[in-house]
Amino acid sequence: MRIIWLIMRKDLLRRWRSPLASLVFLAFPFVFSALIALAFGTGGEGRMPRFKVALVDEDRGFVAGLVRGAFGQERAAQFLEVTETTHEEAMQLIEHNRVAGAIVIPAGFTDAVLDRRPTELRVIRNPAEAIGPIAVEETAEFLALFLEGAASVLSGPIERIRGLTEEGSADGGAGAVPGAGTLGGAAGQISERPVVPAPADWAADERVAEIAVAVNHALRGARDYLLPPAIRLERADAPGVPVLSDTTSPAEPAAASADDDARFLSIFKYVLPGMATFALFVLAVGLTADVFRERRRGTLARQLAAPLQPQKVVVGKMLATMGVGLIVALLMALIGALFLGARANPIAFLLLCVLFLLALTGFVNLLYSFARSEQRGATLASIVMMLMAFLGGSFIPLEAMPEFVQRLAVISLNYWAIEGFQALLFSGAGVAEIARPLVVFLAVGLVSVLLGGALLRGQLARGD
């Protein structure tokens, strides 16, 4: 142990004396996560992936029709693929991971909006997905805000619309609000087309035109208003679906906020584990290449000529890499806790970090041991690193990827790390909940260390 400690201490001391590289690894995930969050979170030019969402209309009223119509608009369709379904089917879709979440328009929603009584839109999130549920929530928040505004500003026209719908209902039967109007996705405008299609026997064209004019006037005057919330957004996780991540705890009361900063932080938090995982990978690749630098300078040969077992040199260097990685991970966690409010079980977090770094350094070490030169090793490691990052969801959320890629993700160390970190940071998971990633990392770490040791012995015997 003394020899391993000496080698580890020496490498840590060298890192301490030349800290620039390690600091870059520390800054890397924050910079990239911030850029991604800026692009997706606060009106940047970047595009979110298209998310699947189930829509359950238990109301079947006029306002519910507006909501359904809103999802058909071009801008909404860029981001969301909506499936209208029943509550039971929606839960099945979530359970089979086919949608990021469901928006439920409860019975009586239309009446409540038109009466300007408090009501709620329900969002059921798929806990097995990371970013998709955020998109669903954001959409529902937007709808809630828009409908609140519409209900206040259009109180006059709404009364008349109500008269029409009630007449229609009387003529056409309960819930017969055919078609419903269409919403302009972003501007919150009602289109020039009739809000309610007007069968000849419903009402005179003049009355519809009169209402449309009133709507336009009211909207024009209300563009700059901020209105007190009247529609509450209720969030919940789908029960019985394994938790990968979520934005808030299931019991947490809804606190809908469309505030840009909040959205920025929210996406930042989701992107950060993936980026941090990737940064640790880059760090491991960079530091493991030190073996080749030591070989070039002759210090590796000198160590191997000392009275020690060669494996101890490898283990000492691995532990030093793990040490630097652990410091970087802990600093990232500290920054996350201070600025993002991220909280995690400290023992589980530490355990996950240590085992992930064990697997990572062992694996990278193994990759390098196949290479005859630093350049070849770096090339091989970089290719594998990028592949694992893409497969594992470091750059693009897995749910936005094709199904076969999602199935392949389990071969990526990043996948398991992201799963573990997200569960710790956002779901309050403990050691038991992240047992799968822990076992995977331990197995990969041990196998790669043993294989790497065997390869090293072979190389030394050949004099490579």
């Binding site: 003394r2 020899i3 000496l6 080698i7 020496k10 001391l13 060298r14 004396r17 030349s18 300078r297 002759g298 210090t299 040969a301 000198r302 160590q303 191997l304 000529a305 000392a306 009275p307 020690l308 077992q309 030394l460 015997a461 004099g463």
Partner: protein, 309 residues
């Protein structure tokens, strides 16, 4: 005592070391002398356990490297050709690390660190980062690391390459001091003067084999009292051969187009006579050198080429 027997090591089809053997007693400096590629570093690498020989045995004080490498290496100090140091660390930190690997701890490590820093004249700069050192200072620290744990056997692989004369003299002085304490030194170099000045016995290596071995006096005796005449010019080997063929005082060491090495027998003025006969025959000779009996002469006689070719 270091005993190397029948040592062989190949890289593919290249026989880097071919059945060599030698013995070095305590307090003796054994020099392996040869041009680049002669097999010196491969021999050193085998002796320090970095390369596994294809054949042969290496023993130090009865401990075989093959059977007990840790015990063997505990008695071994290595000063490699490269300045194998950590530039980010100070000289003291380097010594603590390498001394620790060699098995020193606590007070013994601190004492030896102080002693070797003093020996190589680096005490005042001991706290500075090594990357700020000159080439000569790095070489001296390189040597200090090799001897920090007072090894029984010190391997020095071209320890004075690329440094100024003052640093070289300092290193040679330190090596002599170490030997006086009874250490076995195995020294490789391609500096003839260094080998002549320092080594008790010398093994001349070329193409993986030890061509001759002995003290400087013994090696000179091999050459005899004659001189080595080297001619360079625009002549055919046959032309020269026909001139010297019947001269009983001349032995052709090597002969190729444009270059000839001749071992001219004893007797002052013999070389002048031979040279006169060659020039009178009109041979186009551009360059003439006459080598007195020394290691260079031994090497030329044994291999037919200059040590630095």
């Amino acid at each position: 005592m270091l005993v190397v027997e029948s040592l062989s090591r190949s890289f593919g089809s290249l026989k880097a070391v071919d059945e060599i053997g030698f013995q070095v007693k305590p307090g003796e400096i054994y020099g392996l002398l040869g041009p680049n590629g002669a097999g010196k570093t491969t021999t050193i690498s085998c002796v320090c356990g970095l390369l596994r020989p294809d054949r042969g045995t290496i023993e130090l004080d009865g401990v075989a490297l093959e059977s007990d490498p840790i015990a063997f290496k505990r008695r071994l100090g290595v000063v490699p050709q490269e300045t194998a140091l950590y530039g980010d660390l100070s000289a003291r930190e380097n010594l603590h690390f390498w001394g620790g690997l060699a098995g020193l701890t606590g007070g013994a490590l601190r004492d030896r660190t102080t002693a070797v820093l003093e020996a190589v004249g680096l005490t005042e700069r001991a706290g500075d980062a090594v990357r700020k050192y000159s080439g000569g200072m790095k070489r001296r620290l390189n040597l200090a690391i090799g001897m920090i744990h007072e090894p029984k056997l010190l391997l020095l692989d071209e320890p004075t390459v690329g440094i100024d004369i003052q640093a070289r003299l300092n290193i040679l002085d330190v090596v002599r001091e170490v030997v006086r304490a009874g250490t076995i030194v195995l020294y490789t170099t391609h500096y003839l003067e260094e080998a002549q000045e320092l080594c008790d016995r010398i093994g001349i290596m070329d193409h993986g084999r030890i061509l001759a071995e002995g003290s400087l006096t013994e090696l000179k005796r091999m050459v005899g009292e004659g001189e080595i005449l080297t001619l360079k010019g625009r002549f055919e080997p046959g032309e020269l051969q026909s001139i010297v063929a019947e001269d009983e005082h001349v032995r052709v060491v090597s002969l190729e187009e444009g270059q000839a090495v001749l071992d001219v027998g004893k007797g002052q003025g013999e070389v002048t006579g031979v040279l006169g006969r060659i020039l009178r025959k009109g041979l186009a000779v551009d360059d003439i050198s006459i080598q007195q009996p020394n290691l260079q002469g031994v090497f030329l006689k044994l291999t037919g080429r200059e040590l630095r070719d």
